[in-house]
Amino acid sequence: MKFGVVVFPGSNCDADCLHAIKVVTGQPVEYIWHKSGSVDGFDCIVLPGGFSYGDYLRCGAVARFSPVMTPVIDFAQRGGLLLGICNGFQILTEAGLLPGALHRNKNLQFLCHDTHLRIENNQTPFTSLATAGQVIRVPIAHGEGNYYADTATIQQLEENKQVLFRYCDPQGEITPAANPNGSVNNIAGICNRQGNVLGMMPHPERCAEDILGNTNGQLIFQSLLQQWQRRCG
């Protein structure tokens, strides 16, 4: 299984994603430059965190128009596995691959700390190794992670089980206090209708090694690998 990590000029979690994928899956992984016109040969593409083009206008707004996004959008529409983390999630919403928008955290501050996430749907390639309702600890680091979509869209997301992660307390309760940024329904990550595109604000690559004190994030990369092996052997 070959992973690709897109590098926008202001990406800063690109090397982290590459490192985590290598360490956790042992699979080949390469960078994809933002000016690249093709993503052929990759089985899973990651849009990493960071500040793609400084994110001065709106996070992800400018990145959405970079050359690499044309083949990436095409890849996703053909059912390719696409994972957007943090800034990557913002880019996916700006590009229209996922509904809604991410705006400023409710308290107006950038927030970097551990959060607990309840896995709401384990029937996706990103979460297949999870048990239903499993709680994992994953850090966030963002200033604009406040998920918003209109009521109808939210309803659809919920009905189709597209909400994969919700901020919760350590016991798995979905409470206002456990919501770090004001997201509607404590939403931390959603996938598209087909289930091949995931956007999430928390950083699984930051908790995938023992030396960093937490390996909960491995679950996502391992699920991807297992699903792919099952399908493509």
Binding site: L57, R58, V62, T93, A101, H103, K106, L108, Y148
Partner: protein
Amino acid sequence: MFQAKIYVTLRKSVLDPQGGVVRKSLYAMGYQNVPEVRIGRYMVVDLEVADQDAAAKQVRDMCDKLLVNPVIEDYTFELVEV
């Protein structure tokens, strides 16, 4: 040449935490007659275009594609010839 002044605001249905904080600060400073503050973006864009209609069309285009996110934002604009 034209200059476009573009005003971007958060949609009514979207909570504006920044506006809320400013309103509270104003209140604490003694301005208790300010029921609402909304905060948005103000963009001044120079355009080397000859006629007004073309300018307006281009501004609308740029807003829809890049400058404004329709999921959470609305916009209006004005054009002045310069």
